[in-house]
């Protein structure tokens, strides 16, 4: 009797194990003999430009690049804690410099792009963006704009630039009750794209035609109103030769053309 009980018991387990194994085997992708992809951590504003650049790089060198987009400050934390990346493209100089100072990088990095900030409003809100934002101020008071989205200034350099320029415009107090913060530029864009927030401050690269994540009236914020957004990249200590090639590639004239197309200077 015991042996039959045992057999049945183990048959159940064996059935289940087979089922799970089947699933995992079925999911194994067919690996081609390829170089392992480079692992790049990139500020969320690069979503768009960097996708085109990695596609071009792959076309030329057969080397594929895995890019993770997120807030620069978040990646800084992760890298300090031991996250393994080949290359880090920050949205400012500070986070890249701090990694270099801690000896986690190869070299001091290089500024690859200069970003610009825009103020965007949804076409549905019917707000006109005039010179001194008088209609925007009215809209914040009469409820046409009930939410104003920016990225978290502690983690995202574009969020910091947004708070700085709001202050220069004297809008801080007016915007404060309506402020919603995305964890990075990507989430801020999600708020705008899903109409959860009818207005906000986001990178120029997100609203320009090659990317066109959102469509609506926008105005580029003068650079003198915030700390210039100098975006720096650094090679991490254990970066492969492929990563070094990609780092060089991002600085070529060919790459610069693409940067410019997406609104970087």
């Amino acid at each position: 009797m015991t042996s039959s009980v045992f057999r049945c018991f183990f048959r159940q387990i064996a059935c289940l194990t087979c089922f799970f194994m089947y699933i995992s085997l079925a999911l194994l992708p067919t690996y081609a003999a390829e170089m392992p992809p480079l692992r790049v951590a990139a500020a969320a504003n690069l979503n768009g430009a960097l996708n085109e650049l990695t596609a071009l790089f792959k076309e030329q060198t057969k080397q594929s690049v895995d890019v993770v987009f997120g807030a620069s400050g978040n990646f800084y934390q992760q890298i300090v804690q031991g996250a393994q990346f080949d290359l880090f493209l920050s949205a400012n100089e500070d986070f890249a410099d701090r990694l270099a100072n801690q000896g986690l990088t190869q070299g001091l990095g290089v500024v690859y792009a200069r970003g610009r900030l825009v103020l965007w409003v949804s076409p549905k809100s019917k707000v006109t963006l005039d010179q001194n934002f008088s209609d925007l101020k009215r809209a914040l008071q009469d409820g046409r704009i009930d939410k104003f989205a920016i990225a978290n200034p502690a983690l995202a350099p574009y969020g910091l630039a947004a708070t700085e320029s709001l202050k220069m415009y004297g809008l801080t107090e007016l915007v404060k009750p309506h402020l919603v913060m995305g964890s990075d530029v990507g989430q801020t864009m999600l708020f705008l794209k899903t109409q959860a927030a009818p207005a906000g401050m986001v990178p120029l690269s997100m609203v320009l035609p090659p990317n066109h994540q959102i469509i609506g009236p926008y105005t580029v914020i003068p650079e003198k109103l915030h700390t210039p957004i100098l975006q720096k990249m650094v090679l991490m200590k254990n970066a492969s030769q492929g990563a070094k090639n990609f780092y060089q590639f991002l600085q070529t004239e060919e790459a610069r053309k693409i940067w410019r197309k997406y609104g970087y200077e």
Binding site: R39, Q81, G82, A83, G186, M189
Partner: protein, 225 residues
């Protein structure tokens, strides 16, 4: 569809479940033979992840196992494996986070075995080890199976603690739930939708399968009737 993320999730869930089930049986068995005080304190400790916010566990894991901590640093020097923002890291987090999901069903199943049966098996001259193998495990198999399925599906759906301890690194820590979140953040709604549907189907099928297995009569019951 991010197949890489799905495969990673299944691997993580399998590794977690297959490791935790023997551990769950061991814990249950070990606690039975402890004093009331020890038993109660460990029950509280092992049930804690059930109510603990994932961020709390994530915080302690980052502080305790990160490169800044002596443990994380020592382990890295030794093996060159980072205990955070790596697959090992999210596996460790999953193990801790899933203890109650694997162990509680097993505990309940063992508790429901009548003392008479165990006494009878002793009287028949079976050793403790034989009693476990021949009496208790076969009677508790439903609990063990439930624990396995719960752990597997719960790990598939794990989000907060994986994001905190693992970040979002492709083919390392980007599990399927993180991939859905990432695709939302990068405004790829269609892809996120496809993956969400996939996860919904997998979860549904798993529960269906569990129901199918669990509602079959026990072998001992079958033989009695």
């Amino acid at each position: 569809m991010d197949w890489q993320a799905l495969r990673l999730s299944v691997e993580l869930a399998l590794l977690t479940a297959l490791f935790l089930i023997p551990l769950g049986i061991f814990i249950t068995y070990w606690l039975q033979h402890q004093s009331r005080l020890v038993n109660q304190s460990f029950q509280v400790l092992f049930t804690l992840p059930l109510v603990l916010p994932p961020t709390v566990l994530g915080y302690y894991l980052l502080v305790g196992l990160g490169r800044g901590s002596w443990l994380g640093n020592y382990f890295y020097q030794l093996t060159h494996i980072s205990l955070v923002f790596s697959f090992t890291g999210i596996w460790l987090a999953s193990l801790l986070f899933n203890i109650p999901f694997a162990w509680l069903p097993i505990l309940r199943a063992f508790e429901s075995i009548p003392q008479d049966l165990k006494d009878a098996s002793k009287t028949c001259g079976l050793s403790t080890w034989q009693t476990l193998l021949k009496i208790e495990l076969p009677l508790a198999w439903k609990g063990i199976l439930t624990g396995l399925i719960m752990t597997f599906t719960h790990t598939l759906g794990e989000f907060g603690v994986v994001l905190m301890v693992g970040g979002n690194i492709p083919n390392e820590t980007r599990t399927i739930s993180i991939a859905i979140y990432d695709q939302m953040q990068t405004l790829q709604m269609d892809q996120a939708g496809a993956m969400a549907l996939m996860l919904l189907l997998v979860s549904f099928l798993t529960i269906l399968l569990t129901q199918f297995f669990l509602h079959r009569p026990n072998h001992i019951q079958r033989q009695v009737t």
